[in-house]
């Protein structure tokens, strides 16, 4: 958490960079893995959400079996069907929403 230069006037202007799990029913182990993966991916491809999503998906497929779906974006809506215990909806970097789920 770092404060912006003119943060003195408005204390609200704090940029959060940490990942924040909004909704998840994954197991503890899987969730940490997913969060870590998305953090690395978003940091690696900070300009290209598509590549980041691909990286997350492929890594998740490798680790937890195929048919994962990943959406990364700053503003979108979704209504999905997922296999139970495989969804993870994360906010990251203060402006990105990452949704990971599995459905074959």
């Amino acid at each position: 958490m770092a404060e912006e230069g003119a943060a003195a006037a408005t204390a609200e202007k704090i940029i959060h960079t940490y990942p924040l799990v909004r909704h998840s029913d994954m197991s503890e182990e899987m969730r940490t893995e997913a969060v870590e993966l998305s953090v690395t991916a978003c940091e690696k491809f900070s300009q290209n959400n598509e590549l980041a999503a691909r990286m997350v998906k492929e890594s998740m497929d490798k680790k937890f079996g195929p048919a994962f779906h990943v959406v990364i974006g700053e503003s979108y809506g979704f209504e999905i069907t997922y296999e139970c215990t495989t969804i993870c909806y994360i906010y990251f970097g203060g402006n990105q929403a990452i949704c990971i789920w599995k459905c074959s």
Binding site: R22, H23, G77, F78, Y82, Y89, N95
Partner: protein, 543 residues
């Protein structure tokens, strides 16, 4: 083999000679068999598809921002709550209504009135003793050159602790009339179940001012000089506690060592308050039979232990099972801090050694010498000369030592295990010792280097033993405790507390300097020439 069907039917029994027919292309037939065909059937099963659920949401910058804000606020709140959690719990434990508070205040005022009444009654009852204490000086002292006596004054007893022994006692450094007593038991075959910490005032010999019964017998006690209401105690079960005499009795101890994590595994033989730590926390030290010297930092709400040194026995490591070597710990029995150098301390052990240790080294001793043959019960530094200390032991001896010297300067045999030895705070050459046969010995090395100037039987030899004694820092009285839970306050007769007269040339010299000069003069007799036992004997006789 083919047989004609007709022949088979008619002559079943007749066995024809087998005729081998030649196999050729005309006489050839094919053999084949048809097996039964099982009817086909399809069986199938379907697993329940993994459960699915629907989830929908909208990711918008505003939603993300709001959620981050919420989470951040929660985190900050948690951080704040983390610290005072324990304190808040305590507060919640005793929620008091206004009525209760009022009742308590009323009770407190009544209690105060009663306390005054009690003092009045006591003053009347013990008037003669109080008069003796104030004015009576043994007149026979004038005629007995260099001999003194002790006048028994009050006797303190706490009824529930009749069968307990006074294991330790100490005058309060701030209030002259107050002393703290630790009740425990020194009979290890019939160990008591509980102990007691009492504070007695000589203004009220009937009942202690403060008494709290503890779960385990108390073996040692020390009153904190800076805040004289804090008392640290060492228990028979290896725990150390800090009691706050200002708190109500229900709260009992204020701090206690963790019974699981860091208590001693043997009796705590002596506790001593030490200097404040760098962060300003008070700390005290304990020495125990498990061979550890532990420093306890009094943190808010808990005691934090640090092992300062583990006392190793001089014996070689004992081979354990599967080839490991186990070093034998020797049992610490007493500890004494250097009055000026806060990191130097002496540890007496049950095998009679006195180790000079430093807080800076946790593996080796600064010095070590085999001082006694039995457990060292007490080491006490002289109040005037920081390099002189006295030690007493179960081998009947009291020895006076100088730092850095392997042989004692003086040695006295008292004919019974010596429970305690203390230097007098008013004179550099006076010290007192109490023995298991119920006698108090007072020595003044300036008057007599070989014999005590006072031997007085305080308790009867058969029933009781004297355990500990302590000089009052200001008043001319000592207190000594016995194994039946009684504390005896004795007044020192004038011959036992002679002050040095300033020489005519320098009348203005203060008493302290004179005392130091007196001791130094005495020590030069012993020190020079270099100490060897034989030489000293002669030297003494020359005097």
């Amino acid at each position: 083999m083919l047989v004609e069907p007709a022949a088979v039917e008619e002559e079943v029994i007749v066995v024809k000679p087998r005729v081998r027919k030649l196999a050729n292309q005309f006489n050839f037939c094919e053999r084949a068999a048809l097996t039964y065909n099982f009817p086909r059937r399809s069986v199938e099963t379907q697993t329940i598809p993994p459960p699915r659920a629907n989830f929908g949401s909208t990711a918008l910058q505003c939603i993300i921002f709001d959620f981050y804000q919420e989470d951040y606020a929660r985190k900050m709140r948690e951080k704040e709550e983390e610290k005072p959690k324990r304190l808040r719990k305590k507060k919640e434990k005793h929620p008091k209504s206004a009525q209760q508070i009022h009742d308590e205040q009323l009770a407190q005022r009544i209690r105060e009135a009663w306390a005054i009444l009690e003092r009045l009654v006591n003053q009347n009852i013990y008037d003669d003793i109080a008069q003796d204490y104030r004015y009576w000086d043994d007149p026979s002292d004038e005629f007995r050159e260099g001999m003194g006596s002790l006048l028994p004054l009050w006797r303190f007893q706490f009824e529930p602790m009749r069968s307990h022994a006074v294991c330790d006692m100490q005058w309060n450094p701030h209030y002259q009339d107050l002393f703290a007593v630790a009740y425990g038991s020194l009979d290890f075959t019939k160990q008591q179940k509980e102990g007691c910490v009492c504070l007695y005032s000589i203004k009220n010999p009937a009942y202690p001012e403060y008494a709290v019964v503890t779960e385990s017998p108390i073996i040692c006690i020390d009153v904190y000089k800076e805040t004289p209401y804090l008392i640290c105690v060492g228990c028979y079960d290896g725990n150390v506690c800090v009691y706050n005499a200002q708190l109500s009795l229900e709260s009992s101890y204020q701090y206690k060592s963790d019974s699981v994590r860091d208590k001693h595994s043997n009796i705590v033989w002596e506790v001593r308050w030490g200097a404040r730590l760098i962060d300003g926390e008070a700390s005290f030290f304990s020495v125990s039979g498990d061979g550890r010297v532990v420093q306890w930092a009094v943190m808010p709400g808990e005691l934090r232990a640090t092992t300062i040194i583990e006392l190793r026995a001089p014996a070689a490591p004992v081979p354990g099972p599967d080839g490991t070597l186990i070093t034998v710990n020797s049992c610490g029995s007493s500890i004494c801090f250097h009055p000026e150098k806060a990191d130097i301390f002496l540890v007496g052990t049950e095998d009679g050694a006195i180790h000079t240790c430093s807080l800076k080294y946790n593996r080796s001793y600064v010095r070590s010498c085999q001082a006694h043959h039995m457990p060292v019960y007490r080491i006490n530094y002289n109040y005037f000369n920081n390099s002189i200390y006295a030690s007493c032991s179960g081998d009947w001896r009291v020895k006076i030592w100088e730092d850095g010297r392997d042989e004692p300067l003086f040695m006295f045999e008292l004919g019974s295990p010596v429970g305690d030895v203390k230097w007098a705070p008013y004179s550099s050459t006076v010290f007192a010792a109490c023995t298991a046969d119920g006698k108090v010995y007072v020595f003044d090395l300036n008057v007599n280097k070989y014999r005590p100037i006072c031997v007085q039987a305080v308790v009867s030899k058969k029933a009781k033993k004297l355990t500990r004694l302590d000089f009052n820092p200001k008043l001319p009285v000592i207190v000594c405790g016995d194994t039946k839970g009684t504390c005896h306050v004795l007044k020192l007769s004038p011959n036992l507390r002679v002050m040095v007269k300033p020489p005519k040339k320098a009348q203005a010299t203060d008493q302290r300097t004179l005392q130091i000069i007196k001791l130094d003069k005495l020590l030069t007799l012993v020190r020079d020439p270099p100490f060897t036992p034989g030489v000293v004997e002669e030297k003494f006789e020359d005097d």
